[in-house]
Amino acid sequence: MLFVELIVKGLVYGCMYAMMAVGLTLVYGLLRILHIAHAGVFALGAYMTVTVANATGSLALGFLVATAVSAVAGTAIYRLAYQPILHHAAFVPMVVSIGLFIVMQEGFRLIFGAYGIAFDTNPWYVANVSLAGISLTYVEIAMVIMSVVLLVGFGLFAGLTRAGIGWRATVTDPQMATSFGVDPVRVRYVNFLFGSALAGIAGGLVGLLNNYVEPTMGGAVSYKALAIIVLGGLGSVRGTLIASLVLGVVEAFGAIYLADIFDRDAIGFLFLIVVLMVRPQGLLGRG
């Protein structure tokens, strides 16, 4: 029973990682930038959700504002920080991204205070349903549903719509896509809008899950999401999704059986090292 419950909990956390990591992998696939500041957008989403929800009493409004603000912030990061330096070597935008992330973390601390913020009302936090001895809180259920809906929606967009096909074409061969009339700059904007909105929603949900939004909450997620996209074979959305779920489950077991040696946040990297030794191209990457 414990075995099943650990798998279930692992998958729930995996869904959260997926919402974070997809945005990262999209950016990498398109621009070859390791977008560390994505974790800052994640924390921004959490802060927007909690401040708006506490001020207005409406969680839905909190999420709406968080989604919009995160999407705009992520796009602004692209326009103002990355676009002017795209012609430099790949490590230049990465250094900028790390710097930006630190600035954002300290910014949250200065604006919202060094102590984190809890939701005034968080009805889903402890409320739970119990199925066959496994209890899941409403927040955990919402996390799963939200990630499935959004990611399936994205899959349909990429597979069926004209804009989606244009986006995929740009990722595969930007030059060819451009000559077929796809606007690569627009694709980039759509990319950052969507990825950042997802990260913002994930941030809000994690804030609800912990009932605590803190300046450093992006920290652990930032490098874990990096591990995930490397595991998934940099740039592969499907690989990233699988890697997210696998990492969630591995961590859940690790938290119980490996915690004397590693804490949960280190397990992802242990797993990453092991996988890269066996499959240097990542789980689904092409060799």
Partner: protein, 381 residues
């Protein structure tokens, strides 16, 4: 108009006279930026309240106390130059750490060498006082805290099965060691020990496993920001066992985060907010809330008491000679700290102080009992 002018001149004269009179300089370092900034901010406010209240009552030895405050970013590589600066440039006669164990441990060595008395207000690493006889600790070491928790559980619940959830840093490990040692003597059964990192907020797997162990009591060691999500997730997982927690759960933020799930949990080494003594306790809580905008927790009270203790030692020494202050500190007997009476310091600068046990009731920390047992809480040498 003329009156106003005279008043202004007088005020200026008083101000000038004030700044001209000699000051007793005490160094203070705490993290004011970075991840530990929250505790550092509280620490600093606590210390400043002590300074202001001492000065309002005329200071010490007829002189005002001046706190020379630096941000150590919770980094040892910052606290060492800060210590050197405090000694060489600011010429402090004593110093206080309002920081965690890492920076405090590093700075203690510098103060030891310069022979400046130093109090670690709440840093719990054993090595801080091992640097020599110039460092003192204003809080119990982890081990007696853990032993006290075992005693409380055995007294309250009998020879029960306990699952222990520990944070994997110095703080958590030292409390866990003391707990395990005493639990065995008292006939408690430790069914399983779980560890987690400081950054952990998702306890689903641990909760699932604890459910499987089915203990009688859950003993949790961690900071409030880990503790809040932890107790909420324990309750959300359907576990109804009593939770006993370590000192660092003591923060109103814990209740804010965990909400109803925090109800009923016990904190060994907590601070009973309804207590009437010492006399400055309730005024302190009110003043802290006024200055900080949020409720005081133990770390701020520790820093307040450390400054008060240092001032008291200077007064008893009758001198600002660091060696005499050190001797007076070492001779401290029955000093009223906000967190409980300080009985004495042992030969290595560790204090004896009873442990208060509190319980969360109606969203407040309420006193339950006090463990005052020399055999268990005596500071290790």
């Amino acid at each position: 108009m003329k009156k106003g002018l005279i008043a202004a001149t007088l005020a200026a004269a008083v101000l000038l006279a004030g700044s001209a009179s000699a000051q007793i300089k005490i160094g203070f370092h705490a993290p004011q930026s970075g991840p530990a900034a929250a505790d550092g901010k509280s620490s600093t406010i606590g210390a400043e309240i002590a300074r202001d209240w001492i000065n309002e009552k005329g200071g010490v030895l007829g002189q005002k106390i001046e706190l020379v405050i630096y941000d150590d970013q919770n980094k040892p590589d910052q606290s060492v130059p800060i210590a050197n600066k405090l000694i060489g440039q600011d010429k402090v006669v004593a110093a206080i750490s309002g920081s965690y164990s890492g920076p405090t441990r590093a700075a203690a060595a510098v103060f030891q060498q310069a022979r400046i008395p130093y109090i670690s207000a709440y840093g719990v690493h054993p090595d801080i006082t091992k640097e020599g006889n110039w460092a003192f600790r204003g809080v119990q070491l982890g081990q007696p805290q853990g032993k006290g928790a075992a005693k409380f559980i055995a007294d309250k619940f009998g020879k029960v099965k306990v699952a222990m959830l520990t944070m994997n840093n110095d703080f958590g490990q030292s409390i866990a060691e003391g707990f395990k040692e005493e639990a065995q003597k008292l006939g408690l059964t430790l069914v399983k020990e779980y560890t987690f990192g400081l950054g952990e907020r998702q306890f689903g797997p641990i909760v699932a496993s604890v459910k499987n162990d089915n203990p009688d009591v859950i003993y949790a060691i961690g900071y409030y920001f880990v503790g809040g999500p932890l107790v909420a997730q324990v309750r959300a997982g359907g576990l109804k066992q009593p939770i006993v927690a370590a000192q660092a759960f003591d923060s109103m933020k814990l209740i804010e985060i965990a909400k109803d799930a925090a109800e009923g949990i016990y904190i060994v080494g907590g601070m009973d907010r309804g207590r009437k003594d010492p006399a400055d306790f309730q005024p302190y809580l009110a003043e802290f809330k006024k200055r900080a905008g949020y409720d005081a927790e133990a770390v701020s009270a520790n820093c307040y008491s450390a400054v008060m203790l240092m001032a008291d030692a200077i007064k008893r020494a009758g001198s600002t000679d660091p060696a005499k202050i050190r001797d007076a500190l070492a001779a401290t007997k029955d000093f009223a700290m906000l967190t409980g009476p300080l009985g004495y310091f042992n030969s290595v600068g560790e204090l004896y102080s009873p442990l208060e046990v509190t319980q969360v009731k109606g969203g407040q920390f309420v006193g339950v009992t006090v463990i005052d047992d020399q055999a268990i809480l005596a500071p290790p040498k």
